[in-house]
């Protein structure tokens, strides 16, 4: 365990309260905008407002697993335990947000498609991504030696990230009930009303701050755990 790692770990609690305040405030603003300010959808009515939860959750799932990938590369490259702490923290938060992403999608599917679940590419690939990272956490849980556990998890974290673009692009590759990308579209501006787009952007920012807050808390815990378990 390096001293650098421990000192970085001690820096996190100073940032955390400010991140928490920023995350809570932006979440309140995003919720008010989503529920009261954004216009009602001409086709779906108010049901569409779940978009402001569903899309940020999807974004966080992608972000969390890309962070797992980058931290895994960092661990294999440097063997700095901070990277392992970041990888496990992001994987746990990613699994949580992917689970919520699936639940929110299911709640939206019932009034719009008439079913809670259907076997279409976006849903299935997302469920597979969820199972994949549950496997990642299982792999970590079954390993006892710190270095081996971190290395095994890092290798799997690098391989598993391939599912992230597959999930995002699955709606383009196969016939899908799920709507096509409306913000990150190839060759075009977002296909969304400007007020809706602004609300969505504020929601994305708020959820990203929540992710950052969770990460600082979880990384601090993991670094403390590493010191307790692996230096004694």
């Amino acid at each position: 365990m390096t001293e650098t790692t421990i000192s970085r770990g001690n820096a996190l609690p100073r940032i955390r309260p400010w991140l928490g305040i920023a995350a809570a405030a932006s979440f309140v603003v995003a919720s008010v905008m989503a529920l009261f300010w954004a216009p009602t959808d001409a086709v779906q009515g108010n049901v569409y407002r779940i978009l402001y939860v569903h899309v940020p959750l999807a974004w966080l799932a992608y972000l969390a697993f890309v962070v797992v990938f980058l931290a895994s590369v960092g661990w294999l490259w440097t063997k700095n335990p901070l990277f392992d702490a970041i990888a496990v923290s992001s994987a746990e938060i990613g699994v949580l947000f992917t689970g919520l992403f699936l639940v929110a999608g299911s709640i939206w599917a019932k009034p719009t498609w008439g079913v809670w679940w259907t076997w279409e590419p976006r849903l299935v690939t997302t469920a597979i991504m969820f199972v994949m990272y549950v496997g990642y956490l299982l792999l970590r849980g079954l390993s006892t030696d710190f270095s081996r556990r971190a290395t095994r998890a890092a290798v799997f974290g690098i391989i598993a990230v391939i599912d992230v673009p597959i999930v995002h692009l699955s709606v383009l590759w196969a016939n899908s009930l799920h709507q096509l990308p409306t913000v990150l579209r190839a060759g075009g501006s977002p296909a969304l009303d400007s007020a809706m787009l602004l609300t969505l952007m504020v929601s994305l920012g708020a959820y990203t701050l929540i992710y950052a807050y969770f990460m600082t808390s979880r990384v601090s815990l993991e670094l403390a755990r590493q010191v307790r378990l692996w230096t004694t």
Binding site: M132, L139, D163
Partner: protein, 222 residues
């Protein structure tokens, strides 16, 4: 000694070990034969003959057979304490991964041939494009082992390994299984363009995962 020569040596050694003690091949072949027989009993002969269903069950069976054969291959190394010696050799880690992938692909080709003949005979399948089918099966057989070898290496010496390997491997194998199933179904039904498109995707997966495996797996072998 260049890496490709070392890989060929490890693969040759694996195949000799498999010939002397063929329990991995026998288990995989028996497994796929039982599944082909069960298939027509469980879903009924009419549905089992449908190209999509027959292809899907064939590739699922082959995926599980790959896991069985790979785990048996590493078990043999662990039982004989041969893994440490192999890894200690210069370039041993790369050669171990490459050699295992190559030997498993050859073993799987045998298993796929037996399973394929059984499926064709027992389910009375009509093959519209035999050469296209051969290409899809060959590339499918090359696309499965890299991921399974990676996951077996990651789970080496862990408790609950038998449960962990399928949990890790099968979700990552989904794109390969979809491509292999669609390609096989297209070849059975006479869709040449479809079969070759899916075969191209299988080739891409085989190359990508082999390169990733050769790059990062040596770090995981301890």
């Amino acid at each position: 000694m260049i890496t490709s020569h070392r890989i060929a040596l490890v693969a040759g050694r694996e195949l000799r070990a498999e010939r002397r003690q063929p329990d991995g091949v026998v288990a995989a072949v028996t497994f796929i034969a039982v599944l082909v027989l069960l298939e027509s009993l469980v879903v009924g002969p009419q549905i089992a003959r449908e190209a999509d269903v027959a292809a899907a069950l064939f590739w699922l069976a082959l995926a599980f057979a790959t896991i069985l054969a790979t785990m048996r291959s590493f078990d043999r190394e662990l039982e004989d304490d041969a893994l440490e010696g192999l890894v200690a050799l210069p370039g041993g880690r790369d050669a171990l991964f490459g050699g295992k992938v190559l030997s498993l692909a050859i073993v799987l080709l045998l298993v796929a041939t037996v399973g394929g003949i059984l499926s064709i005979v027992l389910l009375d399948l009509r093959i519209a494009l035999p050469m296209h089918l051969l290409v899809v099966v060959l590339l499918g057989v090359l696309a499965l082992p890299p991921i399974v070898v990676v996951d077996v290496v990651l789970a080496l010496r862990l408790r609950a390994r038998a449960a962990l390997v399928p949990i890790l491997a099968l979700p990552v194998l989904v794109p390969q299984l979809v491509a292999a199933t669609r390609g096989t179904s297209a070849a059975l039904q006479g869709d040449a363009v479809g079969a070759l498109s899916w075969a191209g995707l299988l080739f891409a997966f085989a190359v990508v995962y082999t390169v990733i495996g050769l790059t990062i797996v040596p770090a995981a072998i301890e």
